[in-house]
């Protein structure tokens, strides 16, 4: 029994230690509980944390408003913020949703999670990147591009259109990210909107027949191209930029200059319906839509293309006027993404 007593003491000691640890470890996070305070704002962000955190920190320093940020987790590995926002709809915790692509914003709009807000700073942004009902406003964009390995593909043979990816010449040499998730889901939705269902189905059937490799994410596409395991793939400008900065043998081709154009993929910012700090949320949206933020995102490694004229674009990325952006009705394209996913699953064997 003496032995047992000693153990019991040990167990309770452990319990106490765990609680004490929990009490002090948990504290830094509890500061943002008090709802209603005006000097704070809660932002849910799906733009990569490495790029978005400095932007939000800068706002905190400039205004003294405390920014509570929740960053999204990698979309192909965990179910992230869009689901959290949907589940929280009855008692919203967030004021602002800053998305790195249009699909999730449009899903949230259709489910009644967002509220309209027309920011004065949206003025300089072209109308196609703004919701006619003001539920979202686009800013700084990425482009969906073809990345290829310059050691394996000469610039003159580099694909000029995404149709070239279905060319048997490149059989088994193409990679794309899983088209059900993230920015690739936007890309396929854009293609279905642009081409119509039949032609888009046909393109993906040919792509499948050409042995396309479907990998977990856009950064994996880039890595396979860098290593030369495939010759080319579809990915985002910021992913290619990481390899370019690293002096890897890759280049990007902006597809379909003579045809439908390359899809521009703006960030989108929205106010949450029933936001606990709605006014602070609106100020945050004004800030994110400022020229200052577009400039910062262009100059950072995010290499995002400013949508308003007069802001200098990033290095490594061709300026907006040098390629043809796909003309898209973002609302219409993104609203069908669930249907498109269900069509694509059997075609690509997902």
């Amino acid at each position: 029994m003496i032995r047992g007593k000693k153990h019991t003491v040990a167990v309770f000691g452990l319990l106490l230690a765990a609680f004490a640890l929990a009490a002090c470890g948990g504290q830094p996070n509890t500061a943002n509980n008090s709802t209603g305070a005006t000097n704070q704002v809660t932002v849910y962000v799906s733009t990569d944390r490495v790029f978005s955190e400095p932007i939000l920190r800068a706002y905190e320093q400039k205004t003294g408003v405390k920014v509570n940020a929740v960053y999204d987790t990698e979309e192909t590995k965990s179910t992230g913020l869009a689901n959290k926002l949907l589940a929280e709809k009855n008692n919203p915790q967030a004021d602002v949703f800053w998305s790195n692509e249009p699909v999730r914003t449009l899903v949230l709009k259709s489910r009644g999670v967002l509220a309209p807000y027309q920011s004065a700073n949206a003025e300089g942004i072209p109308a196609i990147f703004r919701d006619s009902e003001n539920y979202w406003t686009g800013f700084s964009a990425r482009i969906r591009v073809i990345v290829y390995n310059t050691k394996l593909v000469k610039p003159e043979e580099a694909p000029k259109s995404i149709y070239d990816l279905a060319d048997p010449k490149w059989k088994d040499q193409i990679a794309i990210a899983d088209p059900r998730f993230g920015s690739t889901s936007f890309h396929v939705a854009a293609l279905y909107a642009e081409l119509g269902d039949e032609k888009a189905d046909e393109f993906f059937r040919r792509l499948k027949a050409n042995g396309v490799k479907i990998v977990p994410g856009n950064s994996v596409v880039r890595d396979l191209v860098v290593k030369g395991e495939v010759k080319m793939g579809l990915t985002d400008t910021d992913d290619v930029n990481v390899a370019l900065e690293d002096k890897q043998p890759v280049a990007m081709a902006l597809p379909d200059r003579d045809g439908m154009g390359a899809p521009l993929m703006p960030n989108m910012v929205s106010l949450i319906a029933g936001a606990p700090h709605a006014e602070a949320g609106k100020r945050m949206i004004d800030y994110l839509l400022s020229a200052e933020v577009e400039r910062a995102l262009a100059q950072s490694e995010a290499v995002q293309i400013p949508l308003r004229a007069g802001v200098e674009g990033p290095q490594n990325i061709p300026p907006v006027n040098s390629f043809k952006p796909m003309t898209l009705d973002y609302g219409k394209a993104a609203s069908r993404v669930e249907e498109v996913v269900k069509r694509l699953q059997p075609i690509l064997g997902l």
Partner: protein, 527 residues
């Protein structure tokens, strides 16, 4: 005199007593925290688009051919991983218990490393080592088998140590050691090994990271797609039902095979039959070294190589210090609360005298197989309200609740097994001697459960510190846990940084556990 004592004893178990009140409160808490999230999501899955009752989500399960293939894949993955893990783990456990080996503590520690490495990270290492072979059902079985064999090992070792030495000694009078080993020892440890195999099956079929990365279509990846690509909570929950059913079927099969003995054993005071005949010693040295080399050194080495050296690993630990502290605090609190609750549930289950006990076991194992994402969405629905629940939801406490919700059921299963080894006579004797139930529970039952409580705590802690599915959904603003940090950084981070973070996670979980294990050993040895 005697009659009065008996009457008091009977009375003790019949009228509402401190015992009944304590167990009732524990059951209410358990249902509120562990069962309600899953039950509420089940309700969502039965709701049609118009808000009325609808079974469309379930009709799809039965009619679509895609679902049949998913079911086959899920079951093959679970059974394959379970068998593979048991084949590696059970012999190792037996050797650790019964063969004299030098440096046994260190060997055991090294062999446990795969269990504390997130399966996703192990899978990543195997894709770097095995290339395209890894991207297959077989690859996923191998990775999950390697991830979970330490569970089979620990269960087999614990069981082999518990076998009543008297039984083996009696048999040795009439039979050769080999025969005693085959006819007495093995059958006595079989139930514990089978129970571990069942837990591994449940873990393997509810794992998402590995089949997701290796592109094996199973129900967990389908649940994920329903959430992440289709934002359809009802369909996602319906798709997790086959996981629960498969797990319960496995539990029933295990029970039929090994009967009521399941999860029981007897504590022996002496170490039983040693396997020091023939080439056992050499064979066990070879086996343990081979497993350490193949399942521990090789993958960890590959990750370390990708991580680009100590400097990068050290710097990623430094940058993540807040997240690391949070992870320890939250997982520690979660494991502690889960075990505290599970002690009562396990006790209640073990002392049940009805046939319904089997149903409780099934419910516990089914709750354990609920995907983390489903639990997460369910928790948001239950806790995110504009009252006191909202205060908890907006604080890190919600992460602790998520851990309790996910891991108290498995802790309760483990602790029920531990309580069954304590003879009821001890409690009866204490009560007859006049002790209150609380005193009996605190002074007699809890001390005897020490080994079980430690094991349940360590296992809950390991699961909690790697949890991502529910944590990512419920985590409030601010720095949260290390896995969430890893997952929020990976999108554009090069593989090397990811590997460094993954290794950092392995190291920070391994070091304190190693210290704890060595400390416990030393304090035991000192007696």
């Amino acid at each position: 005199m005697k009659n009065a004592a008996v009457a008091r004893y009977q009375n003790h178990f019949q009228s509402p007593s401190p015992r009944a009140i304590a167990l009732f409160l524990a059951a209410v808490m358990f249902i509120a925290i562990c069962a309600l999230p899953a039950i509420s999501m089940f309700g969502v899955s039965l709701t049609g688009p118009d808000g009325g009752l609808s079974i469309d989500n379930y009709r799809r399960l039965l009619t679509e051919r895609r679902q049949h293939q998913l079911l086959l894949n899920s079951v093959l993955l679970g059974a394959g991983a379970s068998i593979f893990a048991t084949m590696i783990g059970a012999p190792l456990g037996l050797l650790l218990a019964r063969v004299h080996l030098r440096g046994k503590a260190w060997r055991r520690l090294a062999l446990v490393v795969p269990l504390i490495t997130p399966p996703y990270v192990l899978a990543l290492a195997w894709t770097w080592m095995a290339g395209s072979f890894a991207y297959s059902l077989t690859g996923a079985i191998v990775v999950l088998g390697v991830s979970f064999y330490p569970l089979a090992m620990l269960a087999a070792e614990a069981a082999a140590r518990r076998v009543d030495a008297g039984l083996e000694e009696a048999a040795l009078l009439v039979a050769a050691p080999r025969r005693v080993f085959a006819k007495i020892t093995l059958p006595l440890i079989a139930p514990a090994v089978a129970a571990a195999a069942l837990v591994i099956f449940a873990l393997a079929i509810s794992e998402f990271g590995v089949p997701g990365l290796l592109r094996v279509n199973v129900f967990t990846t389908e649940v994920f797609t329903a959430f992440a690509a289709l934002y359809d909570f009802g369909a996602a929950t319906a798709l997790s039902l086959p996981l629960l059913v498969a797990t319960m079927m496995a539990a029933i099969a295990a029970r039929l095979l090994i009967g009521e003995q399941m999860l029981t054993g007897r504590r022996g005071s002496r170490v039983g039959l040693s396997l020091n005949f023939g080439g056992w010693q050499a064979a066990s040295v070879a086996l343990s070294l081979a497993v350490i080399a193949l399942c521990v050194v090789l993958p960890v080495g590959v990750i370390a190589r990708e991580a680009g050296g100590i400097r990068l690993i050290a710097s990623s630990i430094k940058e993540s210090s807040d997240a690391i502290i949070n992870s320890f605090a939250l997982a520690g609190a979660g494991a502690t609360l889960a075990v505290a609750l599970a002690v009562f549930i396990g006790y209640w289950r073990a002392r049940m005298r009805t046939r319904w006990g089997a149903l409780v076991d099934l419910a516990l194992i089914a709750l354990f197989a609920v995907p983390g994402t489903v639990t997460g969405i369910g928790l948001i629905g239950l806790w995110n309200h504009a009252d006191w629940r909202g205060e908890i939801y907006a604080s890190p406490l919600i992460i602790v609740i998520a851990y309790v919700s996910r891991f108290a059921p498995v802790a309760a299963l483990l602790l029920a097994a531990s309580v069954r080894q304590i003879p009821v006579a001890f409690e009866e004797a204490a009560v007859i001697a006049g002790a209150s139930w609380l005193r009996t529970f605190g002074r007699i039952v809890l001390p005897q459960m020490f080994a079980g409580i430690s094991a349940a705590w360590v296992i809950s802690f390991i699961f909690a510190i790697g949890e991502i599915g529910a944590t990512a959904l419920v985590a409030p603003p601010g720095e949260s846990t290390l896995p969430v940090r890893v997952y929020t950084l990976v999108a554009n981070t090069p593989a090397s940084n990811l590997a460094a973070l993954a290794l950092a996670q392995v190291i920070i979980v391994f070091l304190p556990l190693a210290l704890l294990a060595l400390f416990v050993r030393r304090s035991e040895g000192a007696k």
